[in-house]
């Protein structure tokens, strides 16, 4: 097993009681269908709060679909249908009567391609708070500064807050999108291959950022990059498709465990690069 990616850190973070109070996230026997096609099959897992969970697996195994179950982003696809239970903070988020807007405020999402809005850097970050009713200029200034600092972007953009969010580099744009999510103070941040469009240096910055954020936020990241999963995550979920093309959870456990001593042969084959 020489060619396994190195694990930079182990899953040894101690939780405070406060951490535990924050919304716990998990799914039980979840099936996801697009029309008659089943994208995700019988997935059960609990996400650890205030840590980083990586979802890895070969292309088309349902990683992104699974991630989008957590903030009901699949609702946007008319043919999507879900079975099973997805719990956040003790409630089933697919129950009728759940406020999806409120849910997405608490579970933010960062996308594969940086997608700043076509407006100024300041307005990008202030967008969420403004829509949620914060009008006071002073309060907004404070949120924008704090969010950009948390996203490790403040120093680079503090002198050009009025410039278009599209004018900065790709890596900066992605951090801007993270700041935009942080500004609405979510509990969970979902990241859908956030570095796939970035160069290695920008990727490293995002990874550092994730590690810092993990002390306050629950992060779930989808990545096709195993080294990245090994570097940043505490827990790893390995997904793979069966012959029926539906994604299944093959193995879920501490990242150190998965990458050094996987239980399942398929996991081992995948992380040693035998396929995928």
């Amino acid at each position: 097993m020489n060619n396994m990616p190195k694990v930079a850190k182990t899953f040894n973070r101690q939780y405070t009681e406060n951490d535990r109070k924050r919304g716990s996230l998990g799914m039980k026997n979840v099936n996801l269908f697009y029309g008659s096609f089943q994208a995700v099959k019988e997935i059960t897992l609990d996400i650890h709060t205030c840590s980083i969970t990586a979802i890895i697996g070969p292309s088309g195994c349902g990683k992104s679909s699974m991630l989008r179950i957590f903030n009901r982003m699949n609702d946007l696809i008319p043919s999507a249908r879900i079975e099973g239970k997805v719990e956040f903070g003790g409630i089933d988020i697919y129950e009728p009567g759940v406020d999806v807007v409120e849910l997405r405020k608490r579970i933010g999402m960062v996308f594969q391609k940086p997608n700043p809005f076509p407006m100024s850097i300041y307005d990008n970050v202030a967008f969420g708070p403004r829509r949620h009713g914060i009008r006071n200029r002073f309060a907004l200034d404070e949120i924008v500064e704090k969010s950009l600092m948390q996203a490790a972007l403040w120093d680079e953009v503090k002198d050009k807050m009025g410039q278009s969010g599209l004018s900065i580099s790709g890596g900066q744009q992605q951090r801007l999108c993270i700041a935009r999510v942080l500004a609405v103070e979510p509990e969970v941040i979902l990241m859908d291959e956030p570095c796939s469009a970035l160069d290695p240096i920008a990727t490293l910055k995002i990874e550092d950022l994730m590690s810092t954020l993990a002390s306050n936020y629950t992060i779930v990241i989808v990545t096709h990059n195993m080294q990245q999963a090994a570097r940043v995550s505490d827990m790893t979920a390995f997904l793979m498709v069966d012959d029926d093309h539906a994604g299944r959870l093959v193995e879920y456990g501490e990242t150190a465990e998965i990458f050094t001593n996987p239980n399942n042969k398929k996991t081992e084959d995948y992380i040693t690069g035998r396929f995928g």
Partner: protein, 284 residues
């Protein structure tokens, strides 16, 4: 042998080129001819007085000021009535309406609406706005009639502009707990506005040139002074042009062409604005 085949290919290429150039000339030449002919025949009528005075001697002398103003009012009326409805309908059809046969039928009806002859809109305006709603032959009835005609265009361009807004923007907003309406209001509409505006202005400049519909809902050849309320009758450039060309004997030729030049310049002015909006939107 190889040599002759290459020669043949060059010849075919040159012929194809010649045909394409000829086709372009065939399209451009008449336009240039019309413009040159118009200016050559009409420039002598243009003067400060022509732009700022009311007509006298049944349009043979004086100016066309009330017709210019009437046309401006018509354009404004058209946009005021058709743009809000067009945008709201466009947003509803793209963002809210389910993709079922009713929606498809509505979309098809809108596309067909654009093909309805303008005189039919005139009769519709006469029946609905002038008579049923009792607005009389008036500026407002004519504006509503032209707005009804412009709807096909404002709805279609609004729909297309809204659909062209990248999905990533919407997802980005929805993913931070922003509601659908807020996303539409603060992300989709601002991004779509250059396209929506382009459509609206084009619809407006088309309304400026309409003659047939306004003929039956309130345009007058000569009014005493400018309209003082939306319920007054009005003059308009295309109708004025029609009347001085077809119904006034002894009309100096340069006056007709002068009216045509002013009408073209007004329409051109709005089309240039459209072009500028597009350039600005592309820079963003």
């Amino acid at each position: 042998m190889g040599n002759s085949s290459i020669k043949k290919r060059y010849l075919t290429q040159r012929m194809a080129m010649a045909i394409l150039v000829a086709a372009v000339l065939l399209v451009v030449a008449p336009i240039i001819f019309i413009l040159v002919y118009m200016i050559a025949n009409g420039y002598s009528a243009l003067s400060w007085e022509f732009l700022t005075q009311p007509p006298s001697q049944a349009g043979r002398a004086g100016g066309i000021f009330p017709a210019i103003i009437g046309t401006v009012f018509l354009m404004l009326g058209t946009i005021i009535f058709s743009l809000p409805v067009g945008v709201l309908a466009g947003v509803y059809l793209t963002e809210y309406a389910r993709n079922n046969w009713i929606t498809r039928l509505i979309n098809m009806a809108i596309i067909n609406l654009a093909g309805v002859p303008s005189i039919v809109f005139g009769l519709f305006g006469l029946a609905v706005f002038v008579l049923t709603l009792n607005l009389g032959m008036s500026l407002i009835a004519a504006s509503l009639t032209l707005a009804a005609q412009a709807l096909a265009m404002t709805i279609t361009t609004s729909r297309e502009s809204v659909m062209a807004v990248p999905r990533e923007y919407r997802e980005g907003a929805l993913a931070i707990g922003v509601s659908k309406w807020q996303t539409i209001r603060h992300i989709v509409l601002p991004s779509a506005s250059p396209g929506i505006l382009t459509g609206a202005i084009l619809a407006m400049s088309r309304a400026a040139g309409e003659t047939a519909p306004i003929l039956v809902v309130g345009a007058a050849f000569i009014t005493s002074g400018l309209p003082t309320s939306p319920f007054d009758r009005f003059m308009a450039l295309p109708y004025h042009l029609y009347t001085v060309s077809a119904h006034v004997p002894g009309m100096p030729a340069d006056v007709k062409w002068g009216v045509a030049i002013i009408l073209i310049v007004m329409v051109l002015f709005f089309n240039i604005i459209v072009a500028l909006i597009r350039v600005k939107a592309r820079k963003r």
